[in-house]
Amino acid sequence: MDQAGEKWDIEIKSNANLLDLKISEVWNYRDLIWLFVRRDFVAQYKQTILGPLWHIIQPIFTTLMFLLIFGKIAKIPTDNIKPELLFYMSGITLWTYFSTCLTATSSTFTTNASIFGKVYFPRLVLPLSIIISNLVKLGIQFLLLFAAMLWCSFNGHPISFTLNWLYIPFLVLLMAGIGLGCGIIISSLTTKYRDFTVLLTFAMQLGMYVTPIAYPLSFLKNKSYAWVIKANPLTPIVEAFRYALFGKGTVDINSIMYSFIFMIITLFIGALYFNKVEKSFMDTV
């Protein structure tokens, strides 16, 4: 039998350490992450005529709809960001990233059960690849936003491109982190109880309304219910994003710290829970 001091590459015990996150193993599978990103991107638009153009069409139409409903009909102010088009487009770009990240990662276990059931690779590879492939989509939509800003500035609107743009990657990372953290928590919960899938679709719809996408945070000043919106860790990120782009928005360092801490906590809990569930989710999924 087994002799002391023998070196084994893999040891599986029924009661393994929860804190062993196997980050180095994920690194070994980095090619797989990249191939999954490619697969998501390539496979989504196979047999479509417009192909990746769909990434641009979606935000354009949503922006126009928001412009009509919130701008023209409800007449909600836009923090003096002119033209209003840019206000809505910036919010939608960031929100789309968050919501697609969260919905896609939250179904990691259920949609990939057939692969997970047949072969082992670090399960964290899949949610990570989702976050990255959506980052590519965000990039495309951001280019659209950038093009819209250029166009507006040529047409005489005062738009300045400042060094504040350097904050944007950090804000996107915060968004990605919160999306990933919440996503893997929900995906771990759904392996056994599918109630959370239903809950999520519903929560995503409501979530957009408690995040300042269609209205600025300044609009809620002195309102008694403003705390609901401020408690949302996404609020500071969206506001800071607009501040970085247009120089207008309600931002302070404390609220950003709040979002950051929230991200760290969800990622930590998510990683631990995911790690616990991934071992035997095949039995219940």
Binding site: W8, F116, G117, K118, T284
Partner: protein
């Protein structure tokens, strides 16, 4: 230092039956409450032996129970057992798809598990893209796949289709490509589950050949689950027989095959008895044995099969005749044989009393299949006394007959193995 590459200790796996709903939530909460108080999981004590045919009291079953074994570098080990014996569960635990409930598992080196071919193939992606994706899922780095790419395409024989989405492939091509990727993995341990059940005979032969190369030529360790005894016999020297989650045998392959074959419950009994009747002659008992006289209903193609017929004669019979007929699973009568065919001197007239007859079916005569025995008592060329239709069944397993490469198709190719004597004649 031992050269064990896999070491399994007290491995058990428990499954919960039934649906997941409020009931399982109650169990989850109870389990959590026990763990919080530092107690043992209460449901680990209640499991039952996994016998799918009997209704049990417990919602928990042990799919594997206290499994222990070691596998050495370069060994090819077959895992056999009936449906539900725990073979697939064992492979799943070994390939780390699911964690064991208790016990531990240690592995040296890289494991490639082929529980299915083409895992992660995306129908919309081309063959080329899928080779990379599938290879990466199986744990290969991009460089390795690039290096082996031509070999894989060549092995699969799909060069012309390599840039076509795999959903346009025929199912055979799909499997070829998928197995090609898997067969070219650079891993030290290969775990294979019945993937050979697909593809045509030529391809199955190719797969077996490749696996043989991998195990004997390259010295890799192989764990192989299959219902095809022929493939197991070709590939493995050692076999583990699982029965209801417990190891029944671990070691020599032929002993394992015997164990697996004996008393195949699904076929039914290997003997049948009849009540006394008020006619001139009746059959008392019919039973099957092998060469050693062991009562069996499950044979291999190189076993001789003995059909024993006990007969009671009530009054003097002249010109009596007994015939057997063997019908295969396609309902074709393959053999019809009578007492008078015998080259042995058997009297044609029988005094009242008990008689024991034995009909031997030669080895390597019948194509491996399921056979039904019918028995007829009659007078020679005159009238029938009684027909005993399809009274017993027996099964012949493939362990490497000349039709072995054709797999399940064998019964459509022929009913009899060989049957002709060949010779070469001088040309005038």
């Amino acid at each position: 230092m031992s050269n064990n590459v896999i070491s399994v200790e007290n491995l058990s796996k428990q499954y919960r039956l039934g649906e997941i709903g409020t009931g399982s939530l109650v169990h989850d909460l109870n389990r959590w409450w026990h763990v919080v108080r530092g107690k043992e999981n209460p449901y680990l004590k209640v499991g039952e032996v996994n016998d799918r045919s009997k209704a049990g009291d417990s919602q928990y079953v042990w799919s594997l129970r206290d499994i222990n074994f070691d596998i050495k570098q370069g060994e090819a080990v077959g895992i056999i057992g009936r449906n539900g014996a725990g073979k697939s569960t064992l492979l799943k635990v070994l390939s780390r798809v699911t964690a064991p409930t208790t016990g531990s598992l240690k592995i040296k080196g890289r494991v490639a598990s082929l529980l299915e071919v083409g895992t992660g193939f995306h129908p919309d992606l081309s063959g080329r893209e899928n080779i990379f994706l599938n290879g990466a899922i199986l744990g290969m780095r991009k460089k390795e796949i690039k290096r082996k790419f031509d070999e894989i395409v060549d092995f699969a024989g799909v060069e012309r289709y390599i840039d076509t989405p795999v959903k346009r492939y025929s199912s055979g091509m799909y499997v070829r490509l998928a197995f090609g990727v898997a067969a070219h993995l650079e891993s030290e341990i290969l775990i294979v589950d019945e993937v050979l059940a697909v593809g045509d005979a030529e391809f199955q032969k190719k797969c077996l050949g490749k696996m043989n190369d991998v195990s004997k030529g390259e010295g890799k360790t192989i764990l192989f689950v299959s219902h095809s005894m022929a493939s197991i016999k070709v590939l493995c020297e050692r076999a583990i027989v699982l029965d209801k989650g417990i190891i029944k045998h671990d070691g020599n392959i032929s002993k394992a095959l015997d164990l697996y074959l004996e008393n195949n419950d699904a076929i039914g009994s290997s003997e049948i008895e009849f009540l006394e009747e008020d006619i001139e002659v009746f059959v008392k008992k019919v039973y099957l044995t092998n060469e050693q006289g062991v009562s069996l209903n499950s044979f291999t193609n190189d076993d001789r099969i003995f059909i024993h017929i006990d007969i009671a004669v009530q009054k003097f019979l002249d010109q009596v005749e007994f015939s057997i007929c063997l019908k295969n699973s396609n309902h074709v009568n393959v053999i019809f044989s009578s007492l008078s065919d015998s080259t042995n001197k058997i009297p044609v007239s029988l005094e009242p009393g008990m008689y024991k007859f034995q009909a031997e079916v030669k080895d390597n005569l019948l194509v491996p299949d399921l056979y039904y025995i019918s028995l007829y008592t009659h007078f020679r060329n005159i009238k029938s006394i009684k027909a005993y239709e399809q009274i017993l069944k027996f099964h012949i397993s493939e362990t490497g007959s000349i039709l072995a490469p054709y797999g399940n198709e064998a019964t459509n190719i022929a009913c009899i193995l060989g049957g002709a004597d060949w010779s070469i004649l001088p040309v005038k």
